[in-house]
Each structure stands twice: as structure tokens, then as C-alpha cells.
Subunit: 340 residues, 2 copies
């Protein structure tokens, strides 16, 4: 199944998306449809010898920029690469849509173009986060700033299915982010959500604290989109800060510089292990179709990895798995009592 | 003015608190009253030549442990070192109370024993957080999991005064933690709080994202206690993770080990710069008296630094400054219209 890729998404479009598409096609054999202004994209593609590669172009004359207001931009620009790409998924020409563009717009375009799965009130944005044990999935990381307890339950169920289907974890440990491990800790939202998760068909390990996330205590971390967004951006900021501290302090002495030279391979391995580029982007879960959002600063390798994740999601039949997970959600009102 | 120190607070009590008290008295000339079971504390103190030091002991036969339920423990154990220490402040025998014990219990003991300042609905726990520019103050970090907009306004005003009075910043930049910089971003709570902060007598710089915190974009970061708690614990976890990654990757090769040896002074400087022990504990703001909570794992140096912060708070007349800051809060109901 083809992957539709937003050739105009991200800070370095179309160069890096096109390079990433070529990489995915060449290295992984994944067919990719580049979506963007045909002349621009074709010219970029012409820089590679791509005749034997399964890469083609679908024209989309318009585009949505990082600074655009998601809802307005999606509504007013039907010809934008994001809308055209989503339409390719809707009409069955592609199995998934990948973009490194405006995250909010990607969620909105997916919502308008594909709709929600039955039983999903709010699609969630999930991301892979590096931990001491490997990595975990965190959701929601920004699609929903204000949540109700049953939204967190839906996130938990979708996160569980994503971990099974795409990450290949057989019984994912699901944790609820809180300000204390005890069941009684947490905001009112989290306390109520705790009870719902406890009653759900999940390997629910209870509340986890901020420090438990990088420790890798769970495979799935559930939170509202406000907290999740603060969390991943804080981690990004701390990463930057740590590397700048290392640079400053190491540069302060010749011996430090020599030490740094000797440590370079180790530091490179570390950077690679915590680099978002390796993880391939954030899936939007709960839509009737697969949408993967890569980081706005994605280079070719990150785009390639996002395409690879999209292909795994298609192969694992993610959308069907998510739809099934929602059948486990109890209806919000108790059913009328049956007679007898 | 004397500082009352909980000799039984923290994972390594009474050893480390007593050592910290001796250190503060010896190095900084700060008078300290150790609060705990007289026999135990005096025996510990006898290990130091302290005759010429301004350190004394006040008996408190009971104690509150880390695992105790805050409200129950504070209510049921009037003779606990925490309650006795707070009483010393209430009765004017000490100018501040410092503890490395159960944080929740310290807040509750302060609330019950000292009461709130007029105009403060919820006392907040604040902490110093290392940034690329030095450090910032974050509040609330856990006293209030559920907040209303006017609580965040009170936190902002108190944080501003703390930064002026104790940190010596003349016009602290105050930021509101959100999931986007734009005024329209954030949960409903944050959107409403944004308007209140905008109208207040503050150097309000608007919303800040998670990544802006370690970047040091503001001197004060305002958030609810749930998000604040997740934030500081995540930072703690990432710190641990980073150092364990360094250990693993460096240990993987002899050249790496040599590099690490050469880098040791630089790494030690970094560790020191981001070490909570250097920052001296978290003030509880909004009580009618000064209470400083040090990290549960505090060693002597951290206790000494917490005592030093308490002394600075007394010197800066923190409680009076906080009370004055509350005068700037508009009353929740509009006053009856005056005639004429």
C-alpha cells in the first residue's frame, strides 16, 4: 500500500521530505506518493535517479504553513497538500498520510477529511519517548488541552492497541500520569480516570510520576494534551540545555576538549538514542485512517522513519485494531435494564 | 533570627539535618534550633565540637514519616518535630521553619499552625529550577492539583515577590506555562489565568512552553500543582537517565573511559549546576510565616543551603512582601457602586 507524503510539510520542505521519500522507497521498498505543487516537487525529485523507484507525484497547488491557524487554513485551502494527501487516504489511493507540517492542521485535516472512528470522542496525538528501558508511547501530547475522564480512557485503549499493533509489545503496561503513585493522588480528572482505567481491559499498572516516564516503568503513558505537550517540550528543552552545558563546560579547558574528542562516539550514540528523528513521528489516533505527523524540523532520515512507521501501521491493520478497542468502552449511560 | 530545623525530616535524619545545621552555623553564622527527640538529637550533635556555635535543641518526642498521610499525621501528632517546629515560628521563637521531611505534611502543618496570609486562597510550593540563563522559580509544584484561574494569579504575584525579595531580581519576568505561546493557547484554566495575569501589576511576558523553562526565558513560571509536579519530577528523571546513559556509553570502550576521566571536572561542574542540593529547598508561599521544604534526599550541604534560603527570606521580610502582593488582587466580586 502506498504512503501519501506531504512534500510541502516541515521547515525544510520540499527538500527533506522528497529526500526522505526517495530514501524510504530505495531502502525499504515502500511506495510513496509525493503531494505538492507538481512543478516544484518534480524538480526536486529530478535530483535523484528515481526511475526504478516506486515514487510518484500528485499535484496539490496550495499549502498550509506552520504559522497558519489550523481550522481556518484547512477549511479555506482545499488544494493544500495536507487536504489533498488526506483525500488520497479517504479515497483509498494511499494507506496512510505522513506530514512534517503544522501539527494542529494535520489533526484538523484528518478529522474533517477522514472523520473519527466510532466511539472515539477526541482523536489523540501520540509520540514515542526514549526511556532507560527503550521507549514508551505518550498520549495525548497536544490535540486536547481539556479532557474528561472518559477521554483518557479512550487514549489508554488506543495507546494499548498502537503499542500492540505497531510497536509489537504483547501486553503493554499502561500508566496514568499523576503527581503521586497512590490511587488517591492526582487532579480530579486523573482520580476519576484512574477508576475507569482500573475497570478496563488493560494491563493498567496505576499512576506513574514524571520521573517514571524516562525510567521506562510503562510502555504507554496516558495524560491530557496540555500536560503531555508540556512534558515532551520540557524534555526537548532539557536535551538542548544538557548538550549546551556539555559544550560550554567541555570547551572551558584543553583537557576537556581532548576528553570530548575521545568521547565523541559515545556522545553520538547517546544523541542517536534520544533523537526524535529516529522515532519516526507521532500518530494521530482515533481517525478513520492513518495519519503520522513528523517533527517540523525533520530531515530526510526522520521523514523516512515516519514513512516506515506508517507502513507498519498499515501492515498491523491499525485502524481496525483501534476501532475494535473502542468496543471495550462502556456506554456513557447505563443501558435500560433488560427484563427477566 | 533563629531558624527552626526539623532534625527528624528526610531520608537521612537525624544525621544529615544535624550536620547541615552545624555547617550553617559554622560557615554562615546562622543560629539554628534543632527540633526532635532531645536524647537522639543531642547525641548526634555531640559528634561535633559545637560549644561556640549558635545551635540549640528543642524537644519534640514524635515524628512524621515520609509515608504518613499528611492531614492525619499532622492532626494526630502534636508532638511531632514538624508541628513543634512550626509552633516555634508561630510563637516568635524562630523566624522560619526548615524541613527535609514529608512535603505534604509540611504544607499542612504550616497551614494549620500558621494559617494563610489574607487574600491567599491556596498556599503554593515553589522551587528553583536550573536553566541555561541561571535559574527560575516554578510554582505551584504540588500543593494544589486542581486550581482556578485566580489561584494562578495569586501564585504569580507571590512568585514575583519571592523573586524580588529572596532571589534579588528587580523586575522578574513572569511566564504562564502553556501548550503554546499564543494567548489563545492553553487549557480553559490557563486561558482565563492569562487574562488575569495580563491585567495584574506584573512583568508578565505571556505564555511559555515546556522547552522555554530550561531555556530560561522567564524568572518565574506559573502553573497548577499537577503540571508543576509532573514537570519537576520529569526533569529529575531525565537527569538520572542522562547520567546513566553517559555511564553506559562511556563504559562501553577504554577510549571512552579515558575521555570520561579527562572530562570529570567538567561533568562535576555540570552536575553541580543542575543539582537540587545547591538550590536550598522549596518555599511554601502564602502562609503567615516562612516554611522551606528541602528535598527528602538532602545531605548536609542541601540542608545548609535550605537554612541559608530561610535566612534570606527572613532578611528580605518575605512574609510582609507576600502579604502586600495580595493587596494587588482585585476582589472576586465587584464592590457595590459608590454613589456620586
Amino acid at each position: 500500500m502506498r504512503i501519501a507524503l506531504d512534500a510541502m510539510g516541515g521547515d525544510q520542505a520540499p527538500t527533506e521530505p522528497v529526500a526522505g521519500a526517495v530514501m524510504a522507497a530505495r531502502e525499504l521498498g515502500i511506495p510513496v506518493t509525493l503531494v505538492g505543487p507538481r512543478v516544484v516537487v518534480s524538480a526536486e525529485l529530478a535530483r535523484y535517479s528515481h526511475d526504478s523507484l516506486p515514487v510518484d507525484v500528485v499535484d496539490a497547488p496550495d499549502q498550509i504553513d506552520m504559522a497558519d491557524h489550523p481550522v481556518q487554513a484547512v477549511r479555506r485551502r482545499p488544494g493544500a497538500s495536507m487536504n489533498v494527501g488526506i483525500r488520497l487516504v479517504k479515497e483509498g489511493h494511499a494507506g496512510a498520510f505522513v506530514t512534517a507540517g503544522n501539527t494542529g492542521a494535520a489533526v484538523v485535516a484528518g478529522l474533517f477529511g477522514l472523520g473519527r472512528l466510532p466511539g472515539v470522542d477526541r482523536p489523540a496525538l501520540a509520540t514515542i519517548f526514549p526511556t532507560a528501558k527503550g521507549h514508551c508511547l505518550i498520549l495525548d501530547i497536544g490535540a486536547n488541552a481539556d479532557c474528561r475522564p472518559h477521554h483518557l480512557l479512550q487514549f489508554a485503549l488506543m495507546g494499548d492497541r498502537y503499542a500492540r499493533t505497531v510497536l509489537g509489545i504483547s501486553s503493554p503496561r499502561v500508566g496514568l500520569l499523576s503527581n503521586g503513585e497512590e490511587e488517591s493522588k492526582g487532579s480530579l480528572l486523573v482520580q476519576e480516570a484512574h477508576q475507569l482505567l482500573k475497570g478496563a481491559d488493560l494491563n493498567f499498572v496505576g499512576n506513574v510520576e514524571g520521573k517514571d516516564v524516562p525510567r521506562g516503568l510503562t510502555d504507554v503513558v496516558v495524560c491530557d494534551g496540555f500536560v503531555g505537550n508540556v512534558l515532551i517540550k520540557l524534555a526537548e528543552g532539557i536535551g538542548e540545555f544538557t548538550f549546551s552545558l556539555l559544550r560550554d563546560e567541555i570547551g572551558a579547558s584543553p583537557i576537556g576538549l581532548l576528553g570530548a574528542l575521545l568521547l565523541r562516539p559515545a556522545l553520538r550514540r547517546i544523541k542517536r538514542r534520544v533523537d526524535y528523528q529516529e522515532y519516526g513521528g507521532a500518530p494521530v489516533l482515533g481517525l478513520d485512517g492513518i495519519v503520522i505527523v513528523a517533527h517540523g524540523r525533520s530531515r530526510a532520515r526522520a521523514v523516512r522513519n515516519a514513512i516506515s512507521v506508517a507502513a507498519q501501521a498499515i501492515q498491523g491493520n491499525l485502524t481496525k485494531a483501534l476501532a475494535e478497542s473502542m468496543l471495550a468502552v462502556p456506554p456513557k449511560l447505563p443501558p435500560l435494564k433488560a427484563e427477566g
